[in-house]
């Protein structure tokens, strides 16, 4: 059990060819585009959801920040759909790989921060010192704020990776426990099975929440900097 517990997190290759590219591209198949006013049910549902999310998330941003709407909406769609597809049996979830999440978090965070430094230099630098701090504390506080700034992309990536990986591992473990307990004591197996069902419901919620949190935080960093 120890070896195959982590086997589902290995990057899928087939005969040396990166299958992972196809898996990362697969969610795009599920979001068709259309130029019509009235579409089929799938596209109408997706458009309604996208409008709901974009209105809620982009309304707090300034007009300059709202130019990021396409980027942030693609981000939440990608992370949400990838996480949800990872809950299907035997599938591979790209967002469990720290490399991928760092690749998403660092450019977005850096873009927001550099935009802030270029366009509103004084206000961006002012973020490093909260209002009303006593004078002796200033050097230490600037250091702490700098560290807190530079940890933002790492925290974004690690948060997503850890949440999704932990959820998948728990499902594997509790599922294996249910299977092993069935021959020993059926009642306990039943209780474990109920725990598995509750966990799966939780994982569906976590999949969507993590996408939302990632995108929300990027939009907040953007709000600070535009």
């Amino acid at each position: 059990m120890n070896e195959n517990l982590f086997a589902s997190f290995i990057t899928p290759m087939m005969f040396g060819l990166p299958l992972v590219t196809l898996i990362v591209l697969f969610p795009s198949l599920l979001f068709p585009t259309s130029n019509r006013l009235v579409n089929n049910r799938l596209i109408s549902l997706q458009q309604w959801m996208l409008q709901l999310v974009s209105k809620q998330m982009m309304s707090i941003l300034t007009p300059k920040g709202q130019t990021w709407a396409l980027m942030l909406m693609s981000l939440i769609l990608f992370i949400g759909s990838t996480n949800l597809l990872g809950l299907l049996p035997h599938s591979f979830t790209p967002t469990t790989q720290l490399s991928m999440n760092l690749g998403m978090a660092i450019p977005l965070w850096a873009g927001a921060v550099i935009t802030g430094f270029r366009n509103k230099t004084k206000a961006s630098l002012a973020h490093f010192l909260p209002q009303g701090t006593p004078t002796p504390l200033i050097p230490m506080l600037v250091i702490i704020e700098t560290i807190s700034l530079f940890i933002q992309p790492v925290a974004l990536a690690v948060r997503l990776t850890a949440n999704i990986t932990a959820g998948h591992l728990l499902i594997h473990l509790i599922g294996g426990a249910t299977l092993a307990l069935m021959s020993i004591n059926t009642t306990t197996a039943l209780i474990t099975f109920i725990i598995l069902i509750l966990l799966t419901v939780l994982e569906f919620a976590v999949a969507m929440i993590q996408a939302y949190v990632f995108t929300l935080l990027v939009s907040l960093y953007l709000h600070d900097n535009t």
Partner: protein
């Protein structure tokens, strides 16, 4: 009888797969367009065939999406069969 003779002389290249006779199958396969744009065209045709039949209809149901997800699960199972076959229920592993 003249009409039936003319109707059977359709060039092999333009016949669809189900109209090709079994003896002509190897030559039909070799005549297909295996250039990158040909393969891309084949994928595009397949995608739109599925999309227009099951999704892009007035009252599309959950079956259109579910069949895609079922195929995805099946392909992932095939991909990881090598590791999964060790997890069969056996007395001794």
């Amino acid at each position: 009888s003249q009409d039936s003779k003319m109707a059977s002389v359709v060039p092999l290249k333009e016949k669809k797969l189900l109209e090709v006779k079994l003896g002509e199958l190897p030559s039909w396969i070799l005549m297909r367009d295996f250039t990158p744009s040909g393969i891309a065209g084949a994928f595009q045709r397949g995608y739109y065939r599925y999309y227009n039949k099951y999704v892009n209809v007035k009252k599309g149901s959950i079956a259109g999406l579910s069949m895609v997800l079922a195929a995805y699960v099946f392909l992932n199972y095939c991909r990881s069969y090598k590791e999964l076959k060790h997890e069969r229920l056996r007395k001794y592993h």
